[in-house]
């Protein structure tokens, strides 16, 4: 791996090096569950309404493989530059818990669908590459809900989530800072969304991030005792929880205590981690090959076919934006990191012949994202309309100020740009005859400004331009007005 230049060592990281590995579970975007035909559209559904004998683990039921889930993991494997073996297989991970109906989870142990990958991402201290050990496919569990019922403590189980397809992606312990951890997770999320494998919304559990965190004195080879951190429900929480954990462990060691092997949870209100359960020894999951499923062969033809479906990846796209279009790496990042911005930009580029990519990029990163992230959220911009608007501005047909208003109205109402411009009377006056009267009026009405200019205060022309713009309700071509005013003021001297 390549490591970013040392970040400003603050706090514990001045004395210790953190060693962090990340495990991410992503719910894959498939129509049906991993091993049965149940719909995956379980958001807000009544408990246990999306279940069948298979995902309830009833006696005699057997799993059948969801091909599309397999293809998503293979696609993700390509995206992280991992290898897919010619034959993979399924393994049973055996353990008891009431939310796991078969008493085992079908997963992949020895032969994951993707192995030995890597992911490069930017941090405040430069680019970092993290090795990814494996990405494999497995099924989700049900959900336990604990509540009082008739005065008794009761545990209810909703099996809607049981059998949902999950991809687990595990890094090597290559991550060194909380920021790197967050950035890794963000970049992976972007990757999943780009290839379409997962919506990866952390808030509703489509993406779950767990971190193994340990620290060691700078320069020491041996790993410290690691602590597993869970319950991080946002990217911000990932960074804060890991940062907190590093400081907590440093304080323990500094105080002469030992770090305990345990699982800790992130508590958002107190901004701290808390003890969930001890992890003295590894669970014995008694993995063995799943006898109900034959090994899965991944033929070169199949892999090649999946590869053709992978869209341009974020890293390639950023390079194209900066290289080919000359965008700043900041703008390229802003465009690439937001799927709707990317789509709008690419769409407008496709139709916007004659408008420079840079100009379109400015509209998307500026006005569009301001609208999309503002209170008015929920609207959209048609790339064809954005291209049309940008061309109007470039041609001087409407003013930049008015164009912003047009975009805002289009965003909210979806009305075509042309009709908004028409209805609001925003078409710019670039006809010198039409401008002449307004200029005359302005000169006549503001003798003081005229005198100022002639006395050498060149800035006074700005005031006069403003007057013309005001009189034309912003429709005048400001550049033409300024040129015409200068000509008039100097000619009449």
């Amino acid at each position: 791996m390549t490591t970013a230049p040392a970040e400003a060592a603050k706090g514990a990281l001045a004395r210790y090096e953190a060693v962090i590995g990340i495990e991410i579970h992503c719910q894959l975007k498939t129509a049906s569950k991993m091993f049965c035909g149940c719909s995956t559209d379980i958001d807000g559904a009544a408990p246990n309404s999306h279940t069948c004998p298979v995902c309830l683990g009833l006696p005699g039921t057997l799993p059948t493989i969801n091909k599309s889930a397999v293809e998503w993991v293979i696609a993700a494997g390509f995206a992280i530059e991992a290898q897919t073996p010619p034959a993979t297989r399924w393994d049973r991970k055996n353990y008891f818990y009431p939310d796991i109906p078969k008493g085992y989870q079908i997963s992949q142990y020895q032969l994951p669908l993707a192995a030995n990958g890597r992911l490069t991402f930017d941090t405040s201290a430069g680019p970092v590459t993290v090795r990814i050990r494996r990405a494999h496919l497995e099924e989700d569990t049900g959900r336990l809900i604990h509540q009082e019922m008739a005065g008794r403590r009761a545990s209810l189980i909703d099996f809607n989530r049981s059998g949902m397809p999950l991809m687990e992606i595990v890094t090597e312990p290559d991550i060194r800072t909380a920021e790197q951890a967050r950035r890794y997770a963000e970049e992976l999320r972007l990757l999943m969304r780009t290839i379409g494998a997962s919506d990866a919304e952390m808030e509703n559990g489509q993406m779950r991030v767990e971190a193994n965190v340990s620290i060691r004195p700078i320069g020491r080879e041996a790993f410290g005792t690691r602590v597993e951190v869970k319950n991080m429900n946002s990217m911000k929480a990932v960074e804060r929880a890991i940062g907190f954990e590093i400081e907590r462990q440093a304080e323990l060691i500094d105080g002469g205590d030992k770090v305990r092997m345990e699982t800790r949870g992130w508590d958002e209100p107190s901004q701290s981690t808390y003890h969930m359960r001890p992890k003295e020894e590894e669970n014995d999951y008694r993995y063995f090959p799943e006898p109900d499923l034959p090994p899965l062969m991944t033929t070169p033809e199949w892999l090649a076919e999946i590869a053709t479906r992978i869209p341009e990846l974020p890293s390639v796209r950023r390079a194209r934006y900066t290289g080919e279009f000359g965008l700043s790496s900041y703008d390229a990042n802003v465009l690439v990191n937001d799927a709707s911005a990317t789509a709008l930009f690419e769409g407008a580029l496709a139709v916007g012949a004659g408008v420079s990519p840079k100009l379109l990029a400015n509209w998307v990163t500026g006005e569009y994202l301001r609208l999309a992230k503002g209170d008015a959220g929920g609207g959209s911009v048609d790339p064809v309309e954005l291209a049309a608007l940008a061309r109007l501005v470039a041609d001087g047909a409407i003013s930049g100020t008015n164009a912003k208003e047009v975009l805002a109205e289009h965003y909210a109402s979806a009305a075509p740009v042309a009709s908004i411009v028409e209805a609001r009377g925003f078409r710019q006056i670039s006809d010198s005859g039409a401008l002449g009267k307004a200029i005359n009026d302005a000169l006549a009405a503001n003798p003081a400004a005229v005198a100022d200019y002639r006395a050498g205060k060149a800035a006074a022309v700005g005031f006069l331009v403003g007057q013309v713009m005001k009189a034309t309700r912003g429709q005048a071509n400001a550049a033409m007005v300024q040129t015409a005013l200068r000509e008039r003021l100097e000619a009449a001297e």
């Binding site: 004998p53 006696p59 005699g60 057997l62 055996n94 009431p98 008694r286 993995y287 063995f288 006898p291």
Partner: protein, 538 residues
């Protein structure tokens, strides 16, 4: 019409098509005898008269409609249309019980049909009920059923074999012409042998396992019992073939010729001419009943006289089969049985207020001793640090056993003949105290499950008044050839005196004073308890 219960399924098919019999008549007759004799045999855990008669009426309507539509429509009906059939009580039938012989599934009602059930319905077969079995198919005597043992119709004091003992006994006792069983290490063939009926374990992947309560997934296969090769073939035909719901079921075509085995004995016998049969020396083990050895050698000699070429072969890894099997089967079982946790169905004990404790109590109360033994064996074999030494090594042995058989097929043999079981039906209780002695009964059958091969047991006469089974082992997907061989053997032995015999103690089962197998077992337990408290099985 003669006693309908003595008819073969293919004979019933003829009568149903000609209108000489109705499915309702046939079903009534079989229900009556099953209901009457079940007390003494305990072959059935459930007889569903109402559902059976309803299915019979539907079959009668289908047949009547086909008759109106002409000869073609009639010919398109499956031979099992309107024919009564029994299912081992681990086959799911929508709305019905599937106890798998266990207390832990008491009260469970399957909300779906197994693929086997669905295919039988499609064929128009009449499902009479569910037959007794060793708990979760773990056993070789049906004594490990939580609902009491089944008696052998040839000698009511003896076991019918297992685990599909209920199905074998029901077919032997004429309660149904055909029944479904499952075979993980011999559970169709061995009770077939001990009850004097035909039983076949098809090639792994031939019959869908969907809806069959699992014992050991890589070894379980579903197969038919019948009183002859033709009936067994018809049932195999009805349930076979690729099923999208079982990823291990194979897309191998089901031969239509299964329904065209020769009716003429002479025509059937001709199949043996030039057939190369291998006799594996390792299957004639020390400790086998001399009577069994004698019958098998006679059977082979009879086939030789009919033109078969018989040669001795070696299957050198046979002796490791049992050990490998008792790693792999319990390992898979320990995982397959984890779902019986009292959370979603079946027995549950929720008195502790803590779910781990409830789980342990439920399983403690719900599983019998043999199941617990195998769950512990399997859990141990899969544990970290032991996996390589046990499970992985057993899988290597499995490969070696398979290559033993491959060599025989490569040498050009058409089939292997061997004893099905080294012993005839043993007395109730005889092997209950000694699990290893019980396991050894399957020494000649379980290697096939490890190799995934088809095998069948066909009646080959009696030894001391008890049936002996000849095991026919075939190459993968050679069921049709095996059934032709079996049919040929029936042809050349059609006039043998033992062919005409009915199970010797069948008449006793009509007598209400005959003790039930449960009563017999209770007496045995009382006796052995008196002799020194050995009643507690562990």
């Amino acid at each position: 019409m003669a006693d309908p219960t003595r008819l073969h399924a293919y004979e019933m098919a003829t009568l149903l098509r000609s209108g000489e019999a109705s499915s309702r008549q046939l079903t009534e007759a079989h229900l009556a005898v099953a209901e009457k004799q079940n007390r003494a045999l305990n072959a059935w855990l459930a007889i569903d008269r109402e559902a059976a008669l309803a299915q019979a009426d539907v079959a009668d309507m289908r047949i009547a409609e086909a008759r109106r539509s002409g000869a073609d429509a009639l010919a398109r009906l499956h031979p099992l249309c309107g024919v009564p059939v029994g299912l081992k009580d681990l086959v799911s039938v929508k709305g019905g019980q599937a106890t798998a012989g266990s207390k832990i599934l008491e009260g469970y009602r399957a909300p779906f049909d197994a693929t086997v059930t669905a295919r039988l319905r499609e064929a128009g077969a009449v499902i009479m009920g569910k037959t007794n079995m060793d708990e979760f198919a773990m056993g070789s005597s049906t004594e490990h059923s939580a609902y009491g043992p089944t008696a052998n119709p040839w000698n009511l004091g003896r076991v019918p074999g297992g685990s599909s003992g209920g199905s074998a006994a029901a077919v032997a006792a004429y309660h149904a012409p055909v029944c479904i069983g499952t075979d993980t290490g011999g559970s169709i063939r061995q009770p077939g042998s001990m009850c004097g009926v035909v039983g076949m374990k098809p090639t792994y992947g031939r019959v869908s396992r969907y809806g069959i309560v699992a014992f050991a997934s890589s070894l379980d296969q579903i197969g038919p019992f019948g009183r002859d090769a033709r009936d067994a073939a018809a049932l195999l035909h009805a349930v076979s073939g690729r099923d999208e719901r079982d990823a291990t079921s194979a897309p191998v075509p089901v031969p239509a010729e299964l329904l065209d085995l020769p009716s003429s004995d002479d025509e059937a016998a001709a199949y043996l001419k030039g057939l190369r049969i291998a006799l594996p020396k390792e299957y004639f083990v020390a400790g086998m009943d001399p009577g069994v050895a004698a019958r098998i050698h006679e059977a082979v000699a009879t086939m030789e006289q009919a033109g078969a070429i018989v040669e001795e072969v070696s299957l050198p890894h046979t002796e490791y089969g049992l050990a490998a099997y008792y790693i792999i089967a319990p390992a898979e079982a320990s995982s397959n049985l984890a779902r019986f946790d009292g959370v979603r169905f079946g027995l549950n004990d929720r008195t502790s207020g803590e779910f781990i404790a409830d789980y342990l109590r439920t399983r403690g109360a719900g599983f019998g001793p043999e199941v617990k033994r195998r769950v512990m064996l399997g859990t141990y074999a899969l544990s970290a640090g032991y996996y390589d030494a046990y499970y992985l090594k057993a899988q290597k042995v499995r490969t070696l056993i398979k290559s033993d058989f491959d060599a025989v097929w490569a040498a050009g043999f058409d089939a292997i003949c061997a004893p099905t079981s080294p012993v005839t039906a043993f007395p109730l209780g005889a092997k209950l105290q000694d699990p290893v002695a019980m396991y050894l009964v399957d020494a000649c059958t379980l290697p096939l499950n490890l190799a995934g091969l088809p095998g069948m047991s066909i009646p080959a006469g009696l030894a001391d008044g008890l049936p002996v089974g000849l095991q026919v082992i075939g190459a993968p997907w050679s069921e049709l050839s095996m059934l032709r061989l079996a049919r040929a053997y029936e042809g050349i032995t059609a006039r043998a005196p033992w062919r005409a015999l009915e199970p010797a103690e069948l008449e006793l089962t009509d007598d209400p004073t005959t003790p039930s197998p449960i009563e017999r077992m209770e007496r045995l337990t009382a006796t052995s308890a008196g002799a020194g408290d050995q009643s507690k099985r562990t």
